[in-house]
């Protein structure tokens, strides 16, 4: 790489990735995010879904929506594995901790 090439690559970050500049993936991600939000509202408003199934569904949908935002809108899918791990690995601990707390609350509720 010559100095100007290095400069351009650094200055543009993912801007040098042609796929990142295409609009279609962003529009598809948006459509999926809106659809998932509507499903969330449907889960809450329907009332016919068992409570535990609704809780699991809402948490799963929220996680999927957050992943879509991070991967597409925040360009994480174009980053290196190390950068992905730098961002995602520290989030595992609070996520597991939150999940354990929810399981504990559910267990206490059953007693």
């Amino acid at each position: 790489m010559t100095d100007p090439e290095i400069g351009r690559a650094r200055a543009s970050s993912v801007g040098h990735v042609p796929a990142a500049r295409e609009r279609a993936p962003y529009l598809v991600a948006f459509a999926v995010l809106v659809a998932l939000t509507l499903v969330e509202i449907g889960v809450v408003k329907s009332g016919g879904i068992p409570h535990r199934a609704a809780v699991v569904a809402l948490i799963a949908i929220a996680t999927a929506k957050a992943a879509l935002i991070a991967l597409f809108y925040m360009h994480l899918r174009y980053e290196t594995r190390i950068l992905k791990l730098t961002v995602l690995a520290p989030l595992v601990a609070p996520a597991v901790y939150g999940l354990l707390l929810m399981l504990d609350a559910a267990w206490r509720h059953m007693r």
Partner: protein, 213 residues
């Protein structure tokens, strides 16, 4: 390091090649990600605190407290999703050299953020209809009320800062002082606001409503 600063120290500017681990991600981008990670921990702590309080207080919604307006908040959620799209499209336009379109999309993003804030103000204090405060959800009077105002307020503060950040970048971009790289960093921040809202919407509004709160 700029060539001027480098020459002042008696050595030529050093080209910084793409890193073996972080590729072409700039130090600014890595710094922004680490900042956002620390911010995510703040939100995570608040949501976990809400979960602990929720588990220990039955019923969660005290007598006289209003229900949260899920339909209205879903509209705010939609607006925030739209702004994430316009924001990333603004970056794509800037990366493709379409400067006017990029500036317009940034302006729309800022406007969407402002509309979200107006919506949140309505929800709290009321503008065209009574707000939650008038309906009996008062900070400090129940764990539900306190966690609601602290978490949505903290998120609203992020939106407010984000709108100011977008406007600052927009002005700089129009004046030619801001590049697509700064717009991408702004995008990381703004989409993080949306990222966090996904969990706030689920844990503050949707999940408690399953139990009638």
């Amino acid at each position: 390091m700029s060539s001027t600063a480098a020459s002042e120290h008696g050595h030529p500017a050093v080209a910084w090649p793409p890193d073996a681990q972080y590729g072409s991600a700039t130090p600014g981008k890595i710094g922004m990600w680490i900042f956002l990670l620390s911010d995510a921990f703040s939100f995570g702590a608040l949501l976990i605190a809400e979960g602990i309080l929720y588990a220990g207080h039955k019923p969660w919604r005290q007598p006289g407290e209003p229900e949260l307006g899920i339909g209205f908040t879903a509209v705010l959620t939609f607006i925030l999703l739209c702004t994430s799209l316009t924001n990333v499209l603004a970056w794509a336009a800037a990366a493709g050299g379409r400067r006017k379109q990029a500036a317009q999309l940034l302006a729309i993003t800022a406007l969407g953020g402002a509309v979200f804030l107006v919506g949140q103000f309505q929800e709290w204090f009321g503008i065209w209809a009574p707000g939650l405060l008038h309906e009996g959800l008062v900070f400090g009077q129940s764990p539900r009320a306190s966690t609601f105002f602290v978490i949505t307020g903290y998120h609203g503060l992020h939106v407010l800062i984000g709108v100011a950040y977008i406007l600052a970048i927009l002005v700089g971009y129009v004046r030619g002082r801001v590049t697509e790289r700064q717009i991408e960093l702004l995008g990381l921040y703004w989409c993080f606001v949306d990222f966090v809202w996904v969990f706030v919407f689920s844990f503050v509004y949707l999940l408690p409503s399953l139990s009638g709160a």
